[in-house]
């Protein structure tokens, strides 16, 4: 089957979306951008292709009425098994990288003690993998770095010995080892991991599915055998110049966000995108074509990174900020959208005894005020209004936006898709589809 791929290389995360020839989304992937755009792009793309493969399998099963009722039992287990195996494979590479890092001369005295500690920690982490990807498991993040760090740090704290292998040593080894693990692809191709996950799943389900197992295996084999041909791809986002695409396959994220938002909400006329390091106010026509835009200039104050910085200052996760700010009961006015000054203002206000949630609500309003100015500069807000980018997932930012939009432009609903982080990649994939259609 022919597919088109869109890749959005953001400053924080890299996203990939795959569309089939009828512009239906069949796969997506996301990873943190780190410093290596090329790796980030290939990881997000790989993930999207794996998902596409699962989707094809799903399709194969649902097309056969005899298998329809198996689908629900089979596919989630297959997907979980795949993720466990993928995670275990990454853990193996992490272990190798940790042992490698422990060879450094400064660990000479402790090296013999370090190795068994690392082995114990990694074994425990591997043991936790099935639970981590269990049917009802709640994960705070989908990124290997975050998942592995959470378990590793907890286990390292337990295993650390102030007089022997200290927590600091273990944590610095992790910091060193995680980079090469993130920045290289797996030793096993993901497709091979799917195969082995499939075997595991079939074995596990064999007794329960005894009669249908051959039927199932054949359907899955058929889906596995479908060739996926990437006929066009388009890259966008801050790192787009670094993508291994020729120039004509690169689109500005402004155009991609416009088209992506239009596809998610076809009546969109105004788009606000707040990403990691820039904020964009975009006006589109009824076809999703950009008619005007404004961006923050020179400085990324008031963008997603601002929240990241504030979260660090408060020792919180970025995802915790919004819900906390929503508990605010008192209006605190924050004047500074300069990230560094806001940090200072935050500490000062805390020292004055103001509540964290009130200050946080003020910080969210400050960001949105800057976005409002860009919106005004781009031509205001026309219905429908769509909010995209990582910050659209923050409920306090959404509340502040809703409030200011109503104040300035009258009652107005804001479209927010739970998939809004993929807007740019979706737009890019649509441009790729267009390219493919024109070439045909």
């Amino acid at each position: 089957m022919d597919v088109c791929v869109g890749i959005d290389l953001g400053s924080t995360t890299t996203k990939a979306v795959i569309l089939d020839s009828s512009q239906r989304e069949i796969g997506r992937g996301i990873t943190n951008s780190r410093s290596n755009y090329e790796v980030a792009s290939s990881i997000a793309r790989e993930q999207a292709f794996v998902q596409a493969r699962f989707n094809l399998t799903h399709q194969a099963l649902s097309e056969d009425s005899r298998l329809a009722d198996l689908e629900e039992r089979f596919l989630p287990v297959l997907e979980r098994n795949f993720r466990i195996q993928h995670y275990l494979e990454q853990l193996q590479r992490l272990e190798a990288a940790l042992l490698q890092a422990a060879v450094a001369p400064r660990h000479r005295d402790q090296r013999r003690n370090i190795e068994p500690v690392l082995e114990t920690i990694l074994a425990a982490m591997a043991g936790r993998a099935p639970a981590l990807f269990g049917a009802l498991a709640v994960r705070k993040s989908e990124f290997f770095r975050d998942l592995a760090a959470a378990d590793y740090m907890q286990l390292a704290e337990e295993a650390a010995d102030p007089k022997g292998v200290t927590f600091d040593t273990l944590s610095s080894l992790f910091d060193q080892a995680i980079l090469p693990v993130e920045n290289t692809g797996g030793s096993k191709a993901l497709e091979a991991l799917i195969d082995s996950a499939l075997d595991t799943t079939l074995v596990a389900l064999a007794t329960r599915l005894s009669n249908d197992i051959e039927l199932l295996r054949r359907a899955v084999e058929t889906a596995r055998a479908v060739r996926i041909d990437e006929v066009a791809s388009v890259g966008t986002g801050y790192g787009r110049q670094r993508l291994p695409f020729p120039k004509e396959q690169i689109r500005s994220e402004i155009l991609c966000h416009g088209l992506g938002a239009h596809t998610m909400f076809p009546d969109t006329r105004t788009v606000l995108d707040i990403g990691g390091q820039d904020t964009k106010a975009i006006q589109v026509d009824e076809r999703g074509i950009v008619t005007s835009f404004q961006m923050n200039d020179r400085c990324a104050a008031g963008c997603g990174r601002y929240l990241g910085y504030i979260a660090d200052e408060m020792n919180l996760g970025v995802h915790e900020l919004g819900p906390l700010a929503q508990q605010s009961t008192f209006h605190v006015k924050i004047n500074s959208t300069c990230t560094v000054f806001a940090g200072a203002e935050l500490r000062e206000r805390l020292s004055l005894g103001q509540r964290r949630e009130d200050i946080l609500a003020g910080l969210h309003r400050a960001i949105i005020l800057r976005a409002m100015s860009l919106l005004a500069r781009s031509g205001g807000i026309s219905s429908e209004f769509t909010f995209t980018g990582g910050v659209a997932r923050n409920p306090a930012a959404v509340d502040a936006l809703q409030h200011l939009v109503n104040d300035n432009y009258g009652e107005q609903e804001i479209n927010i898709s739970p998939e809004s982080i993929f807007t740019g990649a979706l737009g890019a994939a649509l441009f790729a589809h267009r390219t493919a259609r024109e070439a045909a």
């Binding site: 950009v290 961006m295 020179r298």
Partner: protein
């Protein structure tokens, strides 16, 4: 106005480079040769009048932009900030003050002479007045000031003209006479004005050549080279007139050969976008800035910045028959002395006359003469032309305010937006 020519050069660029560096050398020798030096600004410069007294003009904003192109401005600006000038002040001013504080070595490496007079002949930029106030403190020299009425209603009225002529007669000319010890020679002024008019004809011819497809010139990035001699020390001189004759011949050849503009990386072969640009360029990253356009096949077919020293393409010519009245009209006719509606009309006219695909504003926050009202201009122009407008922000000569990634992103997005609209056709 730059004299750092691109690596691929037109003949006229080489000639221009020689002329400008020759002028810096002449300034360096001025005191030894007993010549008087007057500091003055590009808009409203009274070059013919000064030349009629054998005075050499030195133009601080040209020095600043030249320093910007030679990567010297950053250091000068820090120096000025050390002396108490705030970060938000016009960066030409700070670059000039910094250069002065560091020994007044001009951009070509030769020392600049101190002024015998500061001649402020344009007050359409309020900062100019403050700038010369600062220089007056430094040099303790006489100042002649010509107050220029603003074209608030878009017209030059007779009583405005009379007011400026009176100041020329009672303030400017007597001070030039006092400084040089010579009497005003109206015939010399007339002769010089005739040379100006000839050069102005040729310049307009060159600028209007951008109506061709492909345009043989880039009227912004190339345009700043073309206006160099006439906006600085060479208007009303034989040398200046000869330069524009040569330039005109060169452009004629390009038109005949169907050639596009010359960029630092050679001739632009495919003209993909025709743009009008409002606002001054960035000088510290001039090449990088230009590249963002020619890499995409974007050619600037008309610009307002190349009109800061006179709107010759709107019909004005220096008139030897009415020497003082023509100087008065010149001073009042600079681009930044136009009202906002007049500026919108002008850009709209450019978009139509030059069949542009769009217009782009480079907004320089520290230059209020240009930047105040630019977003309003953007909206009005979008409404009137039905074309998309682009908006970028940078600075004149402060390298800290040129964020290449951000600007490139906006320019690319803007050009892709034009392309997308073009392929999709008009909206329903």
């Amino acid at each position: 106005m730059p004299d750092v020519a691109p690596s691929q050069k037109e003949q006229s660029m080489l000639l221009q480079k020689e002329m400008i560096s020759g002028h810096y050398d002449a300034l360096a020798r001025a005191k030894d040769e007993g010549k008087k030096v007057v500091y003055t600004f590009v808009p409203g410069n009274l070059t013919e009048l000064m030349r009629s007294f054998d005075i050499l003009p030195n133009l601080p904003e040209i020095n600043a932009l030249q320093s910007g192109m030679r990567k010297l401005s950053g250091g000068y600006i820090s120096e000025a900030e050390k002396h108490g000038h705030s970060e938000d002040v016009c960066t030409y001013v700070k670059c000039d003050i910094g250069m002065l504080k560091k020994g007044n070595i001009g951009p070509t490496g030769v020392k600049l002479p101190e002024p015998d007079l500061l001649l402020l002949s344009y007050t359409g930029c309020f900062t100019f007045m403050k700038w010369f106030e600062l220089l007056r403190q430094e040099y303790d020299c006489p100042v002649a000031m010509l107050h220029i009425p603003y074209q608030g209603d878009g017209k030059v009225h007779d009583h405005y003209r009379g007011y400026v002529i009176e100041q020329l007669e009672t303030e400017v000319i007597p001070k030039l006479e006092a400084v040089t010890g010579r009497a005003f020679d109206q015939d010399r002024l007339r002769a010089s004005l005739a040379l100006s008019a000839a050069a102005e004809d040729d310049l307009v011819y060159v600028l209007e050549s951008a109506r061709h497809r492909p345009s043989p010139i880039d009227a912004y990035f190339g345009g700043v080279y073309y206006i160099g001699p006439i906006f600085s020390a060479f208007r009303g001189t034989e040398e200046g007139a000869a330069y524009y004759r040569a330039l005109r011949r060169e452009i004629d050849q390009r038109v005949a050969a169907g050639q596009g503009p010359v960029t630092p990386e050679g001739e632009l072969e495919t003209e993909r976008f025709r743009l009008v640009i409002e606002g001054p360029p960035n000088w510290t990253s001039f090449r990088e800035f230009w590249k963002m356009f020619y890499d995409e096949g974007a050619v600037v077919v008309a610009s307002t910045y190349t009109k800061v020293g006179g709107l010759y393409d709107r019909g004005f010519r220096h008139d030897p028959d009415n020497p003082l009245a023509t100087l008065a009209d010149y001073c009042m006719g600079c681009y930044t002395n136009l009202s906002l509606p007049a500026r919108v009309d002008l850009v709209e006219q450019y978009v139509r006359d030059y069949a542009a695909d769009g217009f782009l504003i480079n907004s320089v926050k520290s230059c209020n003469s240009f930047s105040v009202g630019q977003l309003l201009m953007l909206r009005q122009l979008e409404d009137r032309t039905g074309l998309p407008g682009g908006f970028i922000e940078s600075d004149l000569v402060d390298p800290r305010y040129f964020s290449a990634a951000n600007i490139k992103n906006r320019i690319e997005s803007y050009l892709q937006m034009i392309e997308q609209k073009r392929t999709a056709g008009p909206a329903a």
